[in-house]
């Protein structure tokens, strides 16, 4: 089954500016998709629409076959919590909480695991990303690359089928940026998750298995490697 499908998705701002228009796109499990394009091409807007953070002006987004336009905000929130994971350009970790607690927030919010199991899962995620020693540290005590990896661990907290990342390497040096893309590649290839990454870095985009290029809110090319 198609994991994520966009059908003629258009987003227009009330002022009349069109952010994305007539997007048709489907993503299968295990795909690692890079969305590229010049700034202002609407790639972030598309990501928010596909990540159910925003609603399209027209067209529809289907997640695992469900039409998300029919869902009320609390149901969308529940869907994001259970099925999606987000990584942003800024790590957006809560500064008052340790790396471990930050990863635990979505797990605890979902409430499907007992406290012991939740903590074990969070520690496991951190360890898998090479952050076993950072669990008890506050975000301010971590380097930029480590913070972004904690953010990835948090995105994976509830075992999402789809991970959405908006310029996740924008604040990282080349080495850390490459490491983040390696992680995404592994998540797609080994764990079968679909990854959607917005980036303007063409070199990094080539690490993905599929590249969707956007210009002025429209898809101009969609190539697989």
């Amino acid at each position: 089954m198609t994991l994520l499908a966009a059908e003629s998705v258009t987003k227009r701002l009330p002022e009349g500016v069109t952010l994305v228009s007539d997007i048709n796109l489907s993503v299968e499990p295990g795909e690692f998709v890079a969305i590229t394009g010049p700034s202002g091409s609407g790639k972030s807007s598309l990501l928010y629409l596909l990540g159910l953070l925003d609603r399209p002006t027209s067209g529809r987004v289907l997640l695992e076959g469900r039409d998300t336009a029919l869902l009320a905000p609390p149901d969308l929130a529940a869907l994001r919590l259970a099925r999606l994971g987000f990584v942003f350009q800024f790590h957006f970790l809560l500064p008052e909480f340790t790396a471990l607690d930050n990863v635990l927030i979505p797990i605890r919010r979902r409430g499907a695991l007992k406290p012991d199991a939740a903590e074990a899962r969070a520690r496991g995620l951190l360890a898998a990303l090479g952050l076993a020693d950072a669990a008890a540290k506050l975000p301010e005590q971590l380097s930029g690359g480590m913070r972004q990896r904690v953010a990835i661990a948090r995105a994976l907290a509830n075992d999402p089928v789809l991970v959405l990342a908006d310029e996740p390497t924008g604040n990282l040096d080349t080495k850390n940026a490459a490491a983040v893309f390696d992680i995404f590649g592994r998540l797609a290839a080994e764990e079968g998750r679909a990854i959607l990454v917005v980036t303007h870095d063409a070199d990094l985009a080539h690490r993905a298995t599929r590249r969707v290029h956007l210009v002025d809110g429209r898809i101009v090319s969609d190539e697989r490697s």
Binding site: S44, Y48, G51, L53, D54, P73, P74, A77, A78, L79, R80, L81, A82, L84, F86, F88, Q89, F90, F92, L94, P95, E96, F97, D101, I105, P106, R108, R109, R110, R154, D166, E167, G170
Partner: protein
């Protein structure tokens, strides 16, 4: 919910200083409320206690509340009757059938009953004349409704029986007349009866009006002096439960027709002053809490403003608007609870401190300190209002936080 609490605590603890300031604001409001309320309540309770203590709880008088209806009015109730120039019948005053009424009243459980006859008397000693009010009492009954016995400086109530025409007077009156225990004075009533009376006791109540111009003798003696044999003009009642006074007074008046006043009715002016006093107290402390609430509004607003990114990420992770709203409401309530707890502590300390204050003035009642009420209800009310106002103050910023659109924030940050 545990998660929301943890998040709220984390967010507040990060802004420790501002949190402390707004918590302190609430705490001061609560503390002042507690201190002032316990001062006022203490004073009022003491005052009412005094009133209840020195006065009978119910007084039945030899008058009616409304003039007695005329016969013509009764006969022609619906007619257009106007009666002019009515001369009241010269009816001997006094409570009629007093003996029967006393018997009925004594059957009321928890009630002590004492009949008295009061009347003006001129006391003459040597060349000095002083006009006083003499109350004729039956010592055995009267001591159960009034506190005269406690106030005796010299002599006892029973001494009224042992001496012929014994008289007990206030200490200030004794000084004015220049009499001492055992001296004889001449008492003259408006009816012209004159008796030689012996001072068998001296009392001091602290109330100048009583100490200067009140005297007590036996009921029989006063009836002779006033030339009103077997007449009683007041019946006094004292109850085990003072709160029953007002309803019972109404019941008695309905039954006997005699004007019956409870201690509440007799002191209505003072009780009204208390109501106004309480209103002032509540407005002042309400104002303090209002200021404190603004402090809480301010800190929650600041937190919301500073935490927009965190709010955005929480919402993108899958927190609902409700979750976010509760998260910030909880922060307000936490600040309110901390403030209430701290305020109760400070309030208790203030009460202890006020309790140490001593005045150097000699007040009639002999008080040299603040009278403080220790009532858990004051603490409960103050805490409730603190937490409630904190929660209300947090509602507006919490709603604003809940409505934040994560897309706009993330886009703005990127």
């Amino acid at each position: 919910m545990r998660l929301i609490l943890d998040l709220a605590r984390g967010m507040l603890s990060r802004r420790r200083r501002q949190t402390l300031v707004s918590v302190l604001g609430v705490a001061l409001g609560v503390a002042f409320f507690i201190a002032i309320a316990s001062l006022m309540r203490g004073f009022q309770t003491y005052f009412i206690q005094q009133v209840i203590d020195v006065q009978p709880h119910i007084v039945i008088k030899d008058e009616t509340r409304r003039p007695l209806p005329q016969a013509a009015e009764l006969a022609l109730a619906d007619g257009a009757v106007q009666i002019n120039g009515v001369k009241p019948r010269d009816r001997p005053r006094g409570i009629r059938a007093a003996g029967d009424k006393i018997a009925v009243l004594e059957a009321i459980p928890g009630a002590a009953v004492a009949p008295i006859l009061t009347g003006p008397v001129l006391l003459r000693y040597g060349s000095r004349d002083v006009s006083i009010n003499v109350t004729g009492i039956e010592p055995a009954r009267y001591r159960r409704v009034a506190n005269l016995e406690k106030d005796m400086l010299q002599g006892r109530l029973e001494d009224l029986r042992s001496a012929a025409n014994g008289l007990i007077i206030g200490d200030a009156l004794a000084v004015r007349l220049g009499v001492q225990m055992g001296d004889s004075v001449i008492a003259v009533s408006p009816r012209g009866v004159a008796l030689q009376m012996k001072i068998v006791g001296i009392f001091h109540t602290g109330l100048v009006s009583l100490d200067q111009s009140a005297g007590y003798t036996l009921l029989k003696v006063n009836q002779t002096l006033q030339d009103r044999p077997n007449v009683v003009n007041q019946i006094l009642l004292r109850l085990a439960d003072v709160t029953r006074a007002e309803p019972l007074a109404r019941e008695i008046e309905d039954r006997f027709g005699d004007r019956t006043e409870s201690w509440e009715e007799q002191n209505r002016n003072i009780l009204t002053v208390f109501v106004i006093q309480n209103a002032i107290m509540y407005s002042v402390t309400g104002a303090i809490l209002l200021v404190a609430a603004f402090g809480i509004y301010n800190i929650i607003s600041t937190v919301v403003f500073e935490k927009t990114r965190d709010i955005a990420i929480l919402k993108s992770l899958g927190f609902t608007e409700r979750d976010v709203q509760v998260l910030f409401l909880v922060q307000g309530v936490i600040a309110g609870l901390l403030g209430a707890a701290l305020g109760c502590l400070i309030g208790q300390l203030m009460i202890e401190g006020l309790g140490q204050v001593r005045f150097r003035t000699e007040t009639p009642a002999g008080n040299d300190r603040f009278l403080l009420a220790q009532d858990w209800r004051i603490f409960a009310v103050a805490s409730f209002f603190a937490v409630a106002s904190a929660a209300i103050a947090a509602v507006i910023p919490a709603r604003r936080a809940a409505r934040l659109d994560p897309v706009q924030i993330v886009r703005g940050a990127a």
